[in-house]
């Protein structure tokens, strides 16, 4: 018995080895910039990055932004409510920083996957956020730990786009 074969597609990011050295230098540069930001004020970064409009400042984020902004969640849950670890302040800062760096990296070098897909490792985090808000509704259910709310709620909140 195979409980589920649904894979969350891992974005196939490839990079030519020749460009790698230049990239590493640049990444270090980016890191430094980010650390500065942290030094100046973690709070500042948090407020700068808390709004969905920050996320959509990247071109590639437009489709998901569009679908979210037509969803029931628009008024109640922003990107970070689902896509960062909301267990406490530190986990939130950590997940924001690491994911932010990844996105910045990929976006800067524009080796973008054709279709964005959530990373398998990040699904648990999103799942925890669903439960965090909807605990009351689902408190009776005994779901398989491998199962995600969005296996059924396939279009919450992003829907499809062409």
């Amino acid at each position: 018995m195979k409980p589920s074969h649904v894979e969350q597609g891992a974005p196939g990011v490839s990079g030519g080895t020749g460009k790698r050295r230049a990239r590493i230098t640049l990444v270090v540069g980016l890191l430094v910039v980010l650390c500065f930001a942290v030094l100046i004020s973690v709070e500042g970064v948090h407020s700068a990055t808390k709004d969905p409009s920050f996320c959509v400042s990247c071109h590639v984020m437009e489709p998901v932004y569009g679908t979210w902004s037509h969803s029931a969640h628009r008024e109640v849950a922003g990107c970070n409510d689902c896509h960062t670890d909301n267990t406490n302040y530190f986990t939130k800062t950590y997940t924001k920083a690491t994911a932010g760096l990844q996105h910045l990296y990929h976006n800067t070098f524009s080796d973008l996957p054709d279709r964005l897909r959530i990373h398998q490792a990040n699904t648990a985090l999103v799942q925890d956020n669903c439960i965090r808000c909807h605990e009351d509704v689902v408190r009776n259910l005994n779901m398989d730990p491998e199962r995600r709310c969005f296996d059924c709620h396939r279009y919450t909140p992003h829907s499809n786009y062409r």
Binding site: M1, K2, P3, S4, H5, V6, A124, Q127, D128, I131, R132, E135, D136, V137, V138, R139, N140, L141, N142, M143, D144, P145, E146, R147, D151, C152, H153, R154, Y155, S159, N160
Partner: protein, 426 residues
Amino acid sequence: GSNVQQPVAFRADIAPGTLSAEEFGKFYPKQYDTYMKNAEMSNEGSKYGGSEEYDKLTQWPFLKEIFAGYGFAIEYNEDRGHVYTLEDVKKIKRINEKSISACWTCKSANVPGVVAEMGDAYYSTNFHELKDKMTEPITCANCHDPQTMKLVITQPPLRDALTRLGKNPDKLTTQELRTLVCAQCHVEYYFTDDKKIVTFPWDNGLTPEEILEYYEELGFVDWEHPVAKVGEIKAQHPEFETFASGSVHYEAGVSCADCHMPYTMVGGEKISSHWWTSPLKHMNESCMTCHREGEEWLKERVFYTQDKVADMMARVGTVNVEAIQAIAEADAAGANQEVLNEARKLQRKAQFLVDWVGAENSMGFHNPQLTFDTLNKSMDYAYQAIAKAQEARTGTAAPQWNVNIPKLNSEAVRLMQAPAEPAPVA
């Protein structure tokens, strides 16, 4: 995996051995309310299934012919809710004074306890002898551990089958259980020759062809068809096997409970509906979280498949009847028995495969591709049986064409590059 455990609101500690749904209902009134809907009888929304207790032999006249000489030709009804099991098994004309207790197996929550008590002797005990012990229909106890409410496999035949296949029935994931609790009953089965133990024929695999092969190896016979003079196999409700051998929904990780026990909002809370019936009665809950197109649109898609399956089954069933008649006519005309026996072997296969589709309760929806394939193979065997019967009668064989068919593009390319190679026969 996620490390946030869902808090479970409330678990009553119901005494082990509790069987009555009412008892459970005291602690889980919401689930119990939906369970009581199983008494509703309506065909609303459904084209080929539904819950009214109508006659399947009227709906599909070919069934009466292929089941000739067997109980199913006497009375065979559309299935209805889980609460009717006792009533239905007791009144069906397929039960006679010699019937055995194996027939209680999927009809009552009392069975696991009785088997624990009597051992394998239970199965061959006279049906009527145990009537008083069968006090409950299908109740919560068939699927739940009363103390924890965890899903459990209680039916001995499934426990045996899983164990035989190297799977521990007590170590299943929740998602597996959401299908396997149904596979306790919604499966093809047979009675072993000696002790009449209810057994699932899964050792070669789950597809109709693998199960047919299993029966062929065993030389299993359910009854002798009086017209065709063939030892036949009866197929029964292979919902699980059909669904689990490669259907798009199974491969997508969907379980029986996802469609047949959808989450329903009751008083601001989600619960699993315990009204097991045609999901076409509540597509909004069953389908529409996964499917975005409209409900009417999706229903038309179900019918697009089901209409084609029903038409094909009608035709394949007809050819199966013709095969039986061809054998009978050839026999009456004093045909060559050796050749006629080949026709009989083919007829047996043909009949099992069309019966599989007829006995499966979704009119193809649970696995369209497999269902079309199974019907087509049945037609193929049935026509081969006709040709053989005609050959036995007239002495003139129909021509055969046996040639290797590469099929794959890679294979075609390979052959073109090595054209000298002798083509093996298919």
